[in-house]
């Protein structure tokens, strides 16, 4: 089987419009969560989110593109451009024929849906823009990435709620690992921060009105974010031959299904995915230095995830670091695993562990080293990234440092 490395990374999210600014914000423990700004926000009871601010699409896309690209597609392309530029790859001939793009996404073009429902239901219009369907479909982002970069290999979108990106990256990993293609573009994106998107989440009563405080005893719910994270997964020898800069190695993954409840997480399901990822990557539990937690800031997730980590790692659970960067960029749902993979890369490559900010009170049910509030320098050889979705669908990735 072939080794898989990451040779490019790109993002846009509430912390920054590219990777360097995002990592700087994570190092500084900066919070990207702020007052939401969009139409009808005053009719919501939840008014905060990790919204991408200061973003000017006009500078990045032409008029025709803007008519066709929902916000989640725009974010995806912004991140893909950064990632592919960093990798130095161009796609033509044999490489173009084999390379594809597998992305995670949950809500599709939620803003497009919201705007057009409003127009026909509230404003009583009987005509919508002709591009509504190609704009809102969940695979629009993957398709536009394939078109912009001439990727003609296996391309599709994976939708498993909050685990979408991790499931997508696991698929892309497998394709490079198994020799289907030497290069795959992967990651995910989400943009649900519109009136209808937040209103739907509000109904479930799991959202915080003030902050995302994962693992803190006084946590009171999740906070939504938006944006994208995109990576270039490349076969190790392919990357080495062309002298590409290697950010980290993707060493393995595992997926599992709780098969129990549509919203409540399961310790066993999470533990099986964590354990499985280490087995797949041939990693001993005591080698793991950092885990990027799912850490949503809900009562249920954080205690279940802590218990799963304690079960899987035993005594080593007290030695490893586990943090939730959702405290800073919010929960990007279908894009969250992708943006969070950046924290794993920072841990492995730069030796900096992103903190869990907003941490105020220890919770005996989450008694792990959650790197509270301040980033930490540490040498890490192996990192895991957890994602546990609504619907009980879990996906954990294992990454290694590359010398």
């Amino acid at each position: 089987m072939k080794r898989v490395v990451i040779t490019g990374a790109g993002t846009i999210n509430a912390l920054g419009h590219d990777v360097p600014s995002t990592l700087e914000a994570m190092r500084e423990g900066r919070c990207g969560i702020s007052e939401l700004e969009f139409r009808d926000v005053e009719r919501l009871s939840i008014r905060i989110g990790g919204q991408v601010k200061g973003y000017e699409p006009e500078g990045r896309f032409n008029r025709q593109q803007l008519a066709l690209f929902d916000r989640f597609t725009q974010f995806t392309l912004v991140a893909a451009r950064e990632a592919i530029a960093q990798s130095g790859l161009t796609f033509s001939g044999e490489l173009a024929a084999r390379a594809g793009v597998v992305l995670g996404n949950s809500g599709g073009g939620m803003t497009t849906l919201d705007d057009n429902y409003r127009s026909v239901y509230e404003d009583g219009k009987n005509r919508v823009h002709p591009f509504v369907v190609p704009k809102l479909m969940n695979n629009a982002a993957a398709s536009h990435v394939s078109m912009e970069f001439n990727l003609k290999g296996p391309s599709f979108t994976v939708s498993t709620a909050c685990a979408s990106s991790n499931h997508a990256m696991a698929q892309a990993f497998q394709m490079v690992h198994g020799g289907i293609s030497p290069v795959m573009i992967s990651g995910g994106s989400e943009s649900m921060l519109c009136f209808g998107g937040v209103k739907a989440w509000e109904g479930l009563r799991v959202m915080s009105k003030d902050a995302c405080r994962p693992f803190s005893a006084n946590r009171n719910g999740m906070v939504q974010g938006e944006g994208a994270g995109i990576f270039v997964f490349e076969e190790y020898e392919h990357a080495r031959k062309r002298g590409a800069e290697i950010l980290a190695e993707v060493a393995g993954f595992a997926m599992s299904s709780d098969a129990s409840d549509i919203v409540m997480p399961s310790k066993q399901g999470a533990a099986r995915a964590i354990r499985g990822a280490m087995q797949d990557a041939r990693i001993n539990p005591d080698e793991v230095g950092y885990i990027n937690a799912h850490g949503t800031g809900t009562a249920a997730n954080d205690k279940t995830e802590s218990a799963a980590v304690a079960d899987v790692f035993g005594a080593h659970a007290d030695k490893l670091m586990l943090s939730s960067t959702k405290s800073m960029h919010g929960h990007l749902i279908g894009g969250t695993g992708a943006v969070e993979l950046l924290a794993c890369i920072m841990a492995l490559r730069d030796g900096v562990i992103a903190p869990t900010i907003g941490y105020e009170e220890p919770d005996p049910e989450c008694a792990l080293d959650v790197v509270p509030n301040v980033a930490r320098e540490a040498h890490v050889d192996v990192a895991l990234s957890n994602a546990f979705a609504f619907g009980g669908l879990n996906a954990v990735l294992a990454l290694k440092r590359v010398e």
């Binding site: 479930l204 009563r205 915080s208 009171n220 919203v263 409540m264 809900t298």
Partner: protein, 85 residues
């Protein structure tokens, strides 16, 4: 129908029980109402009385709304309905 009867009717429907089987002393757990059932009941109550119930599933014990028994829910609703008029 009194507020009490209307709330009990909603809870009984959620629990798939006869109205007579739900009393003021009943706890939601004992009635077989789980976290999703609770959120759904609160939604139904909000719709029935046209009120907004301050409840966050993440810290039910610290919400301004006491859900520890059917009686406490009824009294919470009575307060909210009164405050509205």
């Amino acid at each position: 129908m009194s507020i009490k009867d209307r709330v009990i009717k909603i809870i009984a429907e959620q629990a798939v029980l006869e109205v007579e089987d739900v009393t003021a002393d009943s706890k939601l757990d004992d009635l077989g109402i789980d976290s999703l059932g609770l959120v759904e009941s609160i939604f139904a109550i909000e719709e029935e009385f046209d009120i907004s119930v301050p409840f966050n599933a993440n810290d039910p014990s610290e919400s301004d709304f006491d859900i520890s028994s059917v009686a406490s829910i009824i009294s919470g609703i009575e307060t909210l309905v009164k405050a509205q008029t």
